[in-house]
Symmetry: C2
Subunit: 670 residues, 2 copies
């Protein structure tokens, strides 16, 4: 029986499947549960998957088709009945398939969208097991009122508020002689429709009360559920999670590229855009709002609800994303002394931002800590809770910029540092994303100096045709070049080593990982001196930032390291520690927790007390801006060295075959 | 030297002026101060007056011109320099004049707009002398901040809030371990411009804080004054008073017809319009908002400020006006059991209503008491303060509908009753408004049954040519017909009286006040049986309402009667009491206080504590809906009688020459 390779994203599960097996069945064999409530009859559409194959830059529909069975008549009928589904999602026919119908006939890379995943969790478990207590900011109360009459003609709002006093179990406060319901208010748009709703509902309504003080929705009769959206606004991707606020259940998840990317790749260029262009801020603001509205609509459709039933949105994002979504000028985030407009968390009415949810719904934005330590870091702290620990934890969120938080219940310190895009595979000569053809693992034999490599989509090492190197292999390669002595502790290729893979090209020295004939691009794929240098710079930035926080806290090393974001999920933590990308720590105490910011946003959405907790925690976080003086620059340059040939990190010492004193590194480590 | 008559509105001052005297000079002689700061050089425009002559229905510019000198070259130049002034005010050239330039050459009726009046008062003194303490909801604080630096990079808002803590003298509260400024917030649009303002102002700003808790404006440098507008939305007229919130000074006043009048004359027909027309509510709402915006612009221009400097608006009006300006459906105000959407006072952001003031400004709407006892009554209570008295006061605001409030510091009761338009001169055959040619006073000799009358604009009685009868003369005439025995206590003309003025026409009996040759219309001007009936119905409504409140309060008569609105200002209180239009009371304890609702709005604008006081008072006011059962209808019909032939009101008994038992009336009075 012929077998094919299948990779399931975003989990990264991979394996061999038999010719003709359905994707859904194959996924289950690999431990990935895909939803279905129609017994695989192609009617429920819960098992939708996206076929992702080939490089991101070029999407080859033709080659993809032959690796999968053509759509069945049932499947074709399913999509024919939903002509707007594909259009709204921006999908092409053929790209999206029903995994119960579609059979594997070749190697495939499949993306299982969040809404199709089985075994949904309220909040993805991170390193520490945790259940989120559902204590949302919005509670619903059924209120049955006596209609007014000529003897008791109390106004509609006062009548409702009195009824709520009973339903909410409000009690008179000690000092006040006012009824407790006088402290309730009703949001203006809700008041506008109150009289008509009460009468249409024959005086029996379900009232949504925000933070036990403001009525934001009145629905006729009995209604149980309301919904909220947690949104993580990344510079590159916007992810939205729609949750049932009563059960905590995730009812839809949608994501989309951040449309601001056309105005600038990174945050600095977007800040620059707002400074240099008339109404630049307005454009960037409207771009993100219109994408949020699109995602809200899609999620509501998926969940089978109206957008008016969405009563709250929680937003997280770095300080620039925070300012842009709030339409706050981000100019001073990018100019010394780098201050945000506001640290505090905010509640803004969705209508003020033009967000298409219930008109009385609120948008809660998590607090910012500093210009480069934003609401995403607050969310990460919320998700991981270092402030509730006795141990000292180091949280690192790596992107183009890295944010670091260190400490425990007594003290938290934080900083940020630009790491550049090298760690994500950019600015590296043959860098590419983790897709079929990408080298994802590299090992070098320390005696022969010959490499082994593994390509995404291949089970065995040294098989398949390479197209480039993805982020994890770049770190692998640098670590291996160093471990095997091909480069020295300063990152320089050592002269005189006996290997044809080590050669001098027009741009300096390089080490060839794959020869041209092993590739699908017909060129040698090397790691260059320049590539090593890029990683050294990124590594130095992270190292100095972590070291600064540790010194400030009088700590040698953290008790635990938590790597947030995609970065942490694909790198080999041993290799990362070997080159000093992360500080020394027991390897089994280094955890990758995925999108901690998104988790934090969901926690904030579902638990009002946690919002108050993070407000209080972020007020006390001490932040250090890394200095920029020449003395510090010197330290930074020293830190580009791989410092542990003489004094290796204890927990990776066994990997290092030869130790040679490196006085520069030693100086810095002290 | 030739002399002419001049009447100055709205004060009603009148007198004779010499040919060629300027209006401003003539006004001063009559005790009406008109502003001027250019020493009568026709450059400041502070002395603008409106020439009002002839009937309301038809504006006769031609006849007006000849009674005044033509515009001087200076005056013409003044208006030529302000081409938009007339257009914006809706005035015609010739209708508006500079009173320092314009000389009297004939009889004239002049309106002195509020902004031209000298001796401005913060709040017009009412019956009781009162000074308004200026305690506005908005306070300004100068804050000087240290700019952020790399060592202290606190965010802009937190930096400002900390600075405000010092400027405001906020102190840490006993229990909380949070700085007091954590309880401050900043309105979202203000946050949007905060960073740029702070930097442009070099960190020295004046901050406007609403109710000591929300920052609503940040201005560069030192700024002293902010402004607020008090608005009385009448069914017919909208009056706006722009005040300096620091000094309480009235800096501009504007008024305009309520544009909703095209959708219905009275509140019931406007309510009906919202029910019967698609988006009827939206139309009525937009109409009043656009007029408010026009008045705000005009007032700001007059005061020489920007509309952005207006930081708060206080609105009062009857419940229907209240609902329409807030865009709340008024349907249930007009349908039994007649309930408003809300009683409580409200603060709504001006931007939610589309009001063109500072985007962070609030609109404060006074509380409503019942469907027909609206925010205008709350404002009247606020202005007159019966709740702070030991005596029992009766407040009556008469329009098409009358609202009555009775009581003292221990208890207030209120009700409302439809009085019809007769008291305002409408639905009376020769009724007209108080303008030249209107009979304004009537006396009848009880022996000869011959009348005397006085015409508006005439000094002497029985001179001039009559055009019709205005409201005050209608009440005079009914009272005199009754006092002289021409009509009986049931309002019926008595047969067999010897006077050619009493005659039967096609429509029943009538009494001729002016023969055709004494009029400018060439027809006899009579009071008809029908006219008397109209007044009886209005009088019965008021009488029953007042009697009901008195009975509920176990009172025989009030200690003081306060007549609010235009009605009270022009009637002869003795005559009104004679026919039982107002209850028995010492005549010198009956006061006309003019626009008490407008006064109340200004008090609310200038004094936050008074707002809280009226919130508390209106919650405790007991309201009685007058019943509609047949028994009550019977009582009402009895009350149409003039009840005091047998037992006249003590304080007008001396006016009544003959007393004859009237058993019906007697029954009712017990």
């Amino acid at each position: 029986m012929k077998k094919h390779n299948i990779i399931l994203q975003p989990s990264g599960r991979r394996g061999q499947v038999e010719q003709g097996q359905s994707i859904r069945s194959a996924a289950r064999d690999l431990g990935v549960e895909i939803e279905s409530i129609c017994a695989e009859n192609a009617t429920c559409g819960k098992c939708l998957v996206l076929i992702e194959e080939g490089r991101f830059e070029k999407y080859d529909i033709e080659s993809k088709r032959e690796h999968l069975s053509p759509p069945t008549p049932e499947e074709t009928a399913y999509f024919a009945r939903r002509p707007r589904l594909l259009k709204e999602k921006g999908w092409e026919l053929g790209q999206v398939r029903l995994s119960c119908q579609c059979r594997v006939q070749g190697d495939v890379l499949i993306h299982v969208p969040e809404e199709s995943r089985g075994n949904k969790q309220i909040v993805r478990k991170t390193a520490r097991e945790r259940a989120i207590e559902i204590k949302p900011s919005i509670r619903k109360y059924l209120v049955e009122l006596n209609p007014p009459n000529l003897v008791r003609p109390l106004a509609d709002w006062e009548r409702l508020a009195k009824g709520l006093e009973t339903s909410m179990g409000l009690v008179r406060r000690g000092e006040s002689n006012l009824p407790r319901w006088f402290e309730l208010s009703i949001d203006y748009p809700c008041l506008r429709t109150l009289s008509a709703t009460l009468r249409a509902a024959k005086w029996k309504v379900t009232v949504s009360v925000w933070q036990d003080r403001e009525v934001i929705d009145v629905q006729p009769g009995y209604a149980e559920d309301s919904y909220g959206a947690a949104v993580d606004i990344g510079s590159t991707t916007i992810a939205l999670y729609l949750c049932n606020l009563r059960t905590g259940e995730l009812v839809a998840a949608e994501s989309e590229m951040n449309p601001q990317i056309v105005y600038g790749e990174d945050v600095m260029s977007r800040i620059q855009y707002t400074i240099e262009h008339k109404d630049g801020l307005g454009k960037l603001h409207k771009a993100v709002i219109s994408t949020l509205n699109k995602l809200l609509k899609l999620a509501a459709r998926t969940a089978g609800i109206k957008t008016e039933e969405i009563l709250e949105v929680v937003l997280v994002g770095n300080s620039t994303m925070h300012h842009l979504v709030l339409n706050l000028p981000p100019r001073d985030l990018g100019l010394a002394p780098f201050v945000p407009a506001i640290h505090a968390s905010m509640d803004v009415k969705a209508r003020e931002l033009g967000l298409g949810i219930n008109p009385c719904g609120n948008v809660h934005v998590l607090p910012t800590i500093a210009s480069f330590v934003g609401a995403d870091t607050s969310a990460m702290i919320m998700a991981e809770e270092p402030h509730n620990q006795d141990e000292n934890w180091l949280l690192i969120d790596v992107g183009t910029n890295a944010e670091l938080v260190l400490g425990n219940r007594r003290r938290l310190v934080c900083t940020s540092t630009p790491t550049g895009p090298a760690l994500e595979g950019a600015h590296v000569e043959y860098g590419m994303r983790a897709a079929p053809g990408a080298i994802e693992r590299v090992q070098i034999d320390e005696r022969t100096l010959e490499p082994r490599y593994k390509i995404v989509g291949e089970e065995a090492w040294n098989t398949g045709k390479a197209k480039g190197i993805c982020g994890s292999a770049i770190i692998d390669a640098v670590a291996e070049l160093y471990r095997t002595g091909i480069v020295d502790s300063r990152g320089k290729f050592k002269p005189g080593l006996d290997s044809k893979r080590i050669r001098e090209s027009g741009n300096g020295w390089e080490y060839v990982i794959a020869w041209a004939e092993e590739t699908s691009i017909g060129r040698d794929i090397p790691m260059t001196q320049q590539d090593v240098r890029q990683i050294q710079l990124a590594k130095a930035a992270l190292f100095v930032a972590a070291r600064t926080l540790l010194k400030r806290s009088n700590l040698q090393n953290p008790d635990k390291i938590i790597l947030a974001g995609g970065f942490g999920s694909y790198i080999d933590k041993e290799k990362a520690m070997l080159i000093g990308l992360i500080p020394d720590c027991e390897l089994e105490r280094v955890f990758a927790v995925g999108n901690a910011a998104g988790d934090g946003a969901r926690i904030a959405l579902l638990n009002l007390e946690k919002r108050r907790e993070i407000d209080s925690v972020t007020r006390k976080v001490e932040r250090f801006e890394l200095p920029t003086d020449p003395e510090f620059q010197n330290q930074f340059m020293l830190a580009t060295s791989f410092p542990h040939m003489s004094e290796p990190f204890e927990h990776v010492a066994h990997l290092i075959p030869h130790r040679k004193a490196d006085p520069m590194a030693k100086n810095f480590m002290k």
